[in-house]
């Protein structure tokens, strides 16, 4: 509807600038809306399709000792978050890893504090296999 922009520059340059900032403000509405749509579709696609791709298995060497040598554990990182220590209230960075093997460890997921990790490597010789029921 507004044809002011396609007209040749006039002396009324200042006049046509009136409310330009508000025009830009209205543009934010469209931007936010489109960002919401795109973000949601991407989010669903990403989380949905990631099922089809195997995740890298990391090997964590812990600072704690087990049987005289540093404890090692392998798993897929599923979450990284901050938690508050119940005792001191300090923020603690922690990761959640999927270890599987519930029959061996009792739990399929495990939380590790970042501070308890001595080193993290991505060895190439781990495989993740899914066992069927009673398999």
């Amino acid at each position: 509807m507004s044809d002011a922009n396609s007209n040749p520059p006039s002396s009324a340059a200042l006049l046509s600038s009136k409310g330009e900032i508000k025009v830009w403000l209205t543009a934010t509405g469209l931007n936010v809306g489109l960002f919401m749509v795109a973000g949601l579709l991407l989010l669903i696609t990403w989380n949905g399709l990631s099922v089809f791709w195997p995740q890298p298995v990391s090997e964590f060497t812990l600072t704690s000792q087990k049987d005289g040598s540093p404890e090692k554990i392998a798993g897929i990182i599923t979450k990284q978050q901050t938690r508050r220590s119940a005792a001191t209230g300090q923020a603690i960075e922690e990761i959640q890893i999927f270890t599987g093997n519930r029959d061996a460890y009792g739990l399929a997921f495990r939380f590790l504090d970042q501070s308890s990790l001595a080193s993290t490597t991505l060895p190439s010789d781990y495989i993740v296999a899914e066992r069927s029921e009673y398999g």
Binding site: M1, S2, V23, L25, G29, L30, V37
Partner: protein, 792 residues
């Protein structure tokens, strides 16, 4: 519509232009068209009437479901039976009121069938004289106290026989006398009660000993083993008279927990004795009718043994309930309800074994009452004087014995005693609560649970959810609509508009799922980032706009129409990302909470409750508002965009020709003319937000809370306290339960025809009424807007 039957062209070039034709056949409409026209008229008429009928059909259905909630109970006389007993009579009914029984303290109990009276001996050894007898509250059991200080009970059981489904039933009663327990005080028993709590059983009695009345308890323990209930072992009687401090006890009551006694004294005082681990103690002493100085005439427990019903000599009925008052750590009695007084002194009482209904009677008046709401539901004025009352186990039959010894059986029909305006919209002091409250808690773990059916928390939840959804969605949708319709080039608009509308195609269960599992945990720890992000969006537009107006006009004009949109995107993204990252910095600057040990910690989740005194939930209105945005934004956007696009170009061109800038055109011409359409868009969006269910069910935690918001809406005198009285009322960081979510969650569990079921429909009706009122008001306003800015 072009008709096939008219072969001539519409305009005949050969005919003179203005010659009046006597038979203007070419102007006549073909029969086919007319037939189709008529047919369509009926189809449309049928469709229109059908829609109206369907809507009214819904009303009629909802109305028919909720109507019984507001009906008064009916008491209809069933039959009359002369009793064989005289004097102080106790009556009881079997399951179907086929074989009433009566007892008057003699050695026999009488069963009265329609045709015959059968007396059956209790099995007392000769010489036993019964001095006190009363009906057990829960069972067909008569508690007995003797002249020589023994207590016991007789159980009554019924067996029904029916040889074939069509043959008449024959019901016979049988008695079983329990072993007597001695109180070790050979004096007549004046009052007695018995409580059995699994292993622990307890008798409480008052005996009129020569040295003065005594309050005694005697207990029994029953060991439960693998082989079922074991033998009963009696514990020695205890004398609790010293606890009374000289007061003369006249009545005892034992709650089913068998760990307490309520004693009424001659001075109209109640003593609440409790068995603490160290022994019996007086927990509470109170005078229920101290303000009017009347005598307590009736005292008994209601179903559940948490509330006491007290009647006095002036016809007043008051209900005391156990609760933990603020600042205390033990349950004490407090007056929760006062009923409308009867004309006569209260003499008789019987409680339902199903709910909190009870019947009180005095002289010739009899009243059916409900304790939770404190209402007298029905009053019967009888042509005879009441001597005794009884209710059957299902509270379907009320038996009234008159002074001539005739039992009048009445059918009680009161399917929804707990319903009423007070229940749904008023504050009620429920059992176990320390103050009157609006509460929705429709089901409980036990049978004696009191349903709490206040719609207020749900109405507030609906308003709150809608409010936050609209707060988020309206600015985005309207700004986007203005920009898309007025400043965006047509080719981009063709892509952008359907893209925004994709939002509406997402099923709300997906949105709810994402809100609950993905968004809520993110938002929980990132509130400062979100606050900054919200600020960064208009800020980026202002920065971009300020730079833009400094660019010379001829350079600006080189950019195509709608360039702002993609020029702004990277700036918004960059600023937004920066805002997101600087959230923790803002948190450590502003939102520092103090820990109990004195240290300070920057955490919004801890800071919010400390600063405002309001709770912080993970599933809060912020999450719901954002996710509801996905449902509401496309609706408002599409309709508003259409309204804005339909403003005649002649008007905008005229404004531009007069020298208005493009924003001035929008503000002064486009917005007023499109205002009616924009208003419709907002109303339809609002309707969507009010009725939205799935997102709310999944993302709000579904707790029916009334926080300060409710107090503001429903007028609480204690309003306006706290540090931030206004912020206090619409806590964005708490959950809620909306009317629609409530129906979705509870309707599958509600028994059809129950009060709960009907109340859910009442919630639906309330929801409908809310939207109806709102939409009607909006429509009136829209009409006015349309009149005001009429173009043609």
């Amino acid at each position: 519509m072009q008709s096939a039957e008219s072969p001539e062209p519409l305009r005949d070039p050969a005919a003179p232009p203005r010659s009046p034709s006597p038979v203007p056949e070419r102007f006549m409409v073909s029969k086919g068209v007319l037939r189709f026209d008529r047919f369509m008229t009926y189809v449309i008429l049928f469709g229109g009437i059908g829609i109206i009928a369907a809507v009214f059909g819904i009303f009629v259905f909802i109305g028919s479901v909720i109507w019984p909630l507001f009906q008064s109970p009916t008491l209809t006389p069933l039959r009359e039976l002369p009793l064989a007993t005289s004097g102080t009579t106790l009556v009881g009914l079997d399951e179907r009121s086929e074989l009433p029984y009566s007892y008057d303290g003699s050695a026999d109990l009488h069963f009265h069938s329609e045709s015959s009276n059968v007396s059956q001996p209790l099995g007392l050894e000769p010489g036993t004289q019964i001095t006190f007898w009363r009906q057990d509250r829960l069972n067909d059991r008569i508690l007995l106290g003797t002249q020589d200080g023994r207590v016991g009970f007789v159980d009554i059981s019924f067996t029904a026989k029916q040889s074939s489904p069509k043959a008449p039933r024959s019901v016979t009663g049988s008695l079983k006398l329990a072993p007597w327990l001695a109180l070790n005080n050979p004096a007549p028993v004046e009052s007695l009660d018995y409580a059995s709590q699994g292993e622990r059983k307890l008798f409480g009695a008052i005996v009129n000993a020569p040295e003065g009345p005594k309050l005694l308890v005697v207990g029994q323990r029953q060991k439960k083993g693998l082989m079922g209930a074991g033998k009963l072992e009696a514990t020695p009687p205890e004398d609790l008279t010293p606890l009374l401090a000289g007061a003369r006890p006249i009545r005892v009551l034992l709650p089913g927990t068998a760990d307490a006694i309520v004693v009424q004294t001659q001075t109209n005082e109640l003593l609440y004795l409790f068995r603490a681990p160290s022994g019996w103690e007086v927990r509470q002493q109170l005078k229920p009718f101290a303000d009017i100085a009347t005598d307590i005439t009736v005292m008994d427990f209601l179903y559940g043994d948490v509330s006491l019903v007290l009647g006095d000599s002036k016809g007043n009925v008051r209900i005391l309930s156990l609760n933990v008052p603020p600042g205390s750590d033990r349950r004490l009695f407090a007056e929760t309800q006062r009923l409308q007084p009867l004309d006569a002194p209260i003499r008789h009482f019987v409680a339902s074994r199903r709910n909190k209904s009870f019947v009180v009677a005095g002289d010739t008046q009899c009243a059916l009452c409900y304790a939770t709401t404190g209402t007298v539901r029905s009053v019967l004025d009888l042509p005879y004087t009441v001597r005794s009352l009884c209710l059957d186990a299902k509270a379907e039959h009320l038996g009234i014995v008159d002074s001539d010894g005739t039992l009048h059986l009445n059918t009680v029909h009161d399917p929804h005693p707990e319903a009423g305006w007070r229940t749904f919209f008023g504050k009620i002091w429920y059992e176990g609560y320390s103050e009157p409250k609006w509460e929705w808690q429709s089901t409980g773990g036990t049978d004696d649970f009191e349903p709490k059916l206040s719609l207020v928390p749900l109405i507030i939840g609906s308003i709150k959810g809608t409010l936050y959804a609209m707060l988020f969605a309206v600015p985005i949708a309207l700004l986007a609509a203005i920009y898309t319709s007025q400043f965006l080039s047509a080719s981009v608009k063709r892509i952008v508009k359907p893209a925004m509308e994709i939002m509406a195609s997402l099923p709300s269960v997906v949105l709810g799922f994402l809100a609950a599992l993905w968004l809520a945990p993110i938002i929980e720890t990132k509130v400062p980032s979100i606050l900054l992000l919200i600020l960064s969006i208009p800020l980026s537009a202002m920065i971009a706009g300020s730079i833009w107006i400094r660019v010379p006009l001829h350079q600006r004009n080189r950019l195509p129409r709608g360039a702002e949109f993609w020029l702004l995107a990277p700036l918004m993204a960059a600023l937004g990302y920066l805002a997101w990252l600087s959230g923790p910095a803002l948190e450590s600057l502003l939102f520092v909470a103090k820990l109990p040990d004195g240290s300070q910690i920057a955490d919004f989740r801890l800071w919010w409750p400390q600063f405002t005194g309001l709770p912080y939930d993970q599933r809060n209105c912020l999450v719901v508002g954002f996710m509801m945005g996905f449902a509401v934004i496309p609706v408002i956007f599409t309709i508003a965009e259409d309204a804005l696009s339909n403003v005649p170009p002649a008007l905008t061109s005229a404004a531009e020709a007069l020298g208005a800038s493009r924003w001035q055109v929008v503000r002064t011409v486009v917005l007023p003319i499109a205002s009616a359409g924009i208003f419709s868009a907002l109303m339809i969006g609002l309707g969507r937000a009010v009725g939205e269910t799935m997102i709310v069910v999944m993302a709000t935690g579904n707790t029916p809370v009334v926080d300060a918001a409710g107090r503001l809406l429903f007028g609480d005198p204690g309003l306006g306290g706290g540090l931030f009285p206004l912020a206090d009322h619409w806590n964005i960081f708490s959950g809620m339960r909306t009317l629609s979510a409530n129906i979705a969650v509870e309707l599958p569990e509600a028994a059809q025809g129950s009060t709960h079921y009907r109340t859910l429909f009442l919630g639906a009706f309330a929801l409908f009424l809310m939207t109806f009122v709102l939409n009607t008001a909006a429509e009136l306003l829209r009409q006015r807007l349309r009149e005001k800015f009429k173009i043609v």
